[in-house]
């Protein structure tokens, strides 16, 4: 057939309806998979909470302190170095970025206020959580995924041992506890970074800097940051465990779960932080 042959006329209305129908079907499939994912996370969270309560209040159920301690070391202690490094840089960056604007208003010493509030309320918990999602979240997903592939999860169930109690619960508790601890460390290191920069570059002495920080901060700033850290820790660990438990397809599946954990954790962390900030703003916290 020649290229110049007349093409059959397409009814534009039919084409538009078909395209709309296909878009609805694809949208519906995406929505279904998202609902399935959120439902799965919710169910895992519920199951984990039930196991934590059982282990705390039922005499025959053990919390498994050695497993919890080893996860705390793995999740938290090994992340200390990288979190100190990142947060000290953030303190330096904040101080240097704010200085010109504040100086224009004759309020240079207020660098301490802004760095302190930003670190305690936002950047301390959020950046510690983001670092932890890449450091510990990915590692949890890969480890559990590899266990699924090696039939270890099946072996646990075959011995009447619940994988949520043995694998998910200690990892969630460890991530929550350690992220709260790491957030305190982040706050301190961030303020130290800002203080040293102010001392060396902006000519604000440490005593003056700490005085302004102390005046600007209230306990509420510290507590809201820690509440956020606890929730962030729970989200990272639940997403990582869920992705790990749902691995299929061998090494490729493990790699996919690791990437998905980091990406989804960061999106969920920032979205949750946004919700927290809006709530704190509404309730003047």
């Amino acid at each position: 057939m020649s290229d110049l042959a007349p093409q059959p006329r397409v009814n534009r209305l039919v084409a538009a309806i078909t395209a709309f129908g296909q878009a609805v079907i694809i949208g519906g499939q995406h929505a279904r998979s998202h609902v399935h994912y959120i439902g799965g996370l919710g169910y895992l969270l519920y199951d984990t909470t039930v196991w934590v309560l059982r282990c705390l209040f039922l005499p025959r159920q053990k919390i498994g302190w050695p497993a919890l301690a080893s996860q705390m070391v793995r999740v938290g202690v090994r992340s200390i170095g990288i979190i100190v490094l990142v947060q000290s840089f953030i303190g330096v960056i904040l101080a240097l970025q704010l200085a010109p604007t504040l100086e224009a208003y004759g309020q240079l010493e207020r660098v301490a206020d802004v760095v302190g509030i930003a670190m305690f309320r936002e950047l301390g918990p959020l950046l510690a959580a983001i670092v932890l999602s890449g450091f510990a979240g990915a590692s949890i997903a890969a480890e559990i995924g590899a266990m699924v592939e090696a039939e270890e999860i099946k072996a646990l169930r075959a011995h009447a041992l619940n994988p949520i109690r043995f694998l998910v619960m200690p990892r969630c508790l460890a991530t929550v506890i350690m992220l709260i601890g790491l957030t305190v460390l982040s706050d301190v290191v961030g303020i130290l970074g800002g203080m040293i920069t102010s001392w060396l570059v902006l000519d604000i002495g440490p005593r003056k800097y700490l005085y302004f920080t102390q005046v600007a901060l209230v306990y509420r700033d510290f507590i809201t940051g820690l509440v956020k850290a606890g929730v962030f820790g729970l989200l990272i660990s639940i997403i990582a465990c869920y992705e790990g438990l749902n691995v299929s397809g061998g090494a490729v599946g493990v790699g996919r779960a690791t990437t998905a954990t980091v990406v989804k954790s960061i999106v969920v962390l920032i979205a949750t932080d946004c919700v927290f900030t809006a709530m704190f703003f509404l309730f003047k916290l």
């Binding site: 025959r60 266990m147 090696a150 039939e151 270890e152 099946k154 072996a155 646990l156 169930r157 075959a158 011995h159 009447a160 041992l161």
Partner: protein
């Protein structure tokens, strides 16, 4: 556990009745991986379940151990201390866990917990289910390791063990709670012939010493003929033949021309590992491969 009045022979430990397991295929069509499977496993015997790739034997094992819930049919267990057989399909998770404590499983890869030593792997089910003192658990672990000739490896991590050693350690863990039934998933897979024969010998010794009922899923025929009392041949989700080992040996040793029907010729081809026969099409691909390629 749910008790039910059913027709299960008195000496049967497991009775599978009209078992159906269906999955949705890639095109949304329902595919019956198991289609009306029925058989019994008698106390103290070793039953070998065999069949080609994709015939449904792994699905059957997963149903037997409660890893998969069958679509239809029943799996009855007659456990010591219970008057009536219990139906696995009617059990809740708690009942299923009680049942799981009565059987041990040796997985294809050993499935040892990689973060624990060999001894810790064996101790874990005891610590969680037996509520005995740690010194007694230590003695039991030593005994179980002696049974599988692995005592000198007790403090090694699974990554430091060979394939055969992993299976031995997995077998020690499977027997930790003194089970009444032992399941084996491809016990000889990935092992050299000598190690494979040694594992078979170990399985037979344990079966005799511990007086357990054994169910073995395999397609390694040398191993199957060494250990089996009775055999079940699966084909495309259905039971093709159940019989004593001698009956299968006779089928294997008979020339295909003298066999009565296609089913027997198919079993003969499988047992002998012939590349040509009713299992294989003219293009060299087997019926199983065609099903797998078609996504079934």
């Amino acid at each position: 556990m749910t008790n039910v009045a059913v027709d299960v022979p008195n000496n049967a430990v497991i009775a599978v009745r009209d078992l159906v397991m269906s999955f949705a295929g890639p095109d949304g069509r329902l595919v019956h991986v198991l289609d009306g499977v029925s058989f019994e496993v008698y106390a103290g015997e070793t039953l070998v379940i065999m069949g080609g790739s994709g015939c449904g034997k792994s699905t059957l094992l997963n149903c037997l151990i409660g890893e998969l819930r069958p679509t239809d049919g029943h799996i009855y267990y007659r456990i010591k201390g219970m008057n009536q057989p219990v139906d696995l399909r009617a059990m809740n998770e708690k009942g299923l866990n009680e049942l799981r404590k009565r059987f041990g499983i040796l997985f294809q890869s050993g499935a040892l917990f990689n973060s624990m030593t060999v001894a810790e792997n064996i101790a874990l089910p005891l610590q969680e289910h037996s509520y005995v003192d740690s010194s007694i658990i230590d003695i039991v672990v030593t005994l179980k390791l002696q049974q599988v000739h692995m005592l000198e490896h007790r403090d090694k991590m699974p990554a430091q063990l060979s394939g055969g050693q992993k299976k031995r350690a997995g077998l020690a863990r499977a027997t930790a709670l003194d089970p009444e039934i032992l399941y084996y998933d491809e016990p000889s897979a990935g092992l050299d012939p000598v190690t494979s024969a040694a594992i078979d010998q170990l399985m037979m010794d344990l079966s005799k010493k511990l007086q357990v009922t054994s169910v073995v899923v395999t397609h390694e025929m040398d191993s199957a003929f060494r250990i089996a009392d009775r055999m079940v041949m699966l084909d495309r989700g259905k039971v093709l033949k159940i019989g004593r080992r001698e009956e299968f040996e006779s089928l294997r040793d008979t020339s295909p021309e003298r066999l009565a029907n296609d089913d027997e010729r198919l079993i003969h081809q499988f047992l002998c590992g012939d590349p040509e026969g009713p299992l294989t099409k003219a293009d060299g691909t087997s019926e199983y491969e065609k099903l797998i390629i078609a996504g079934e």
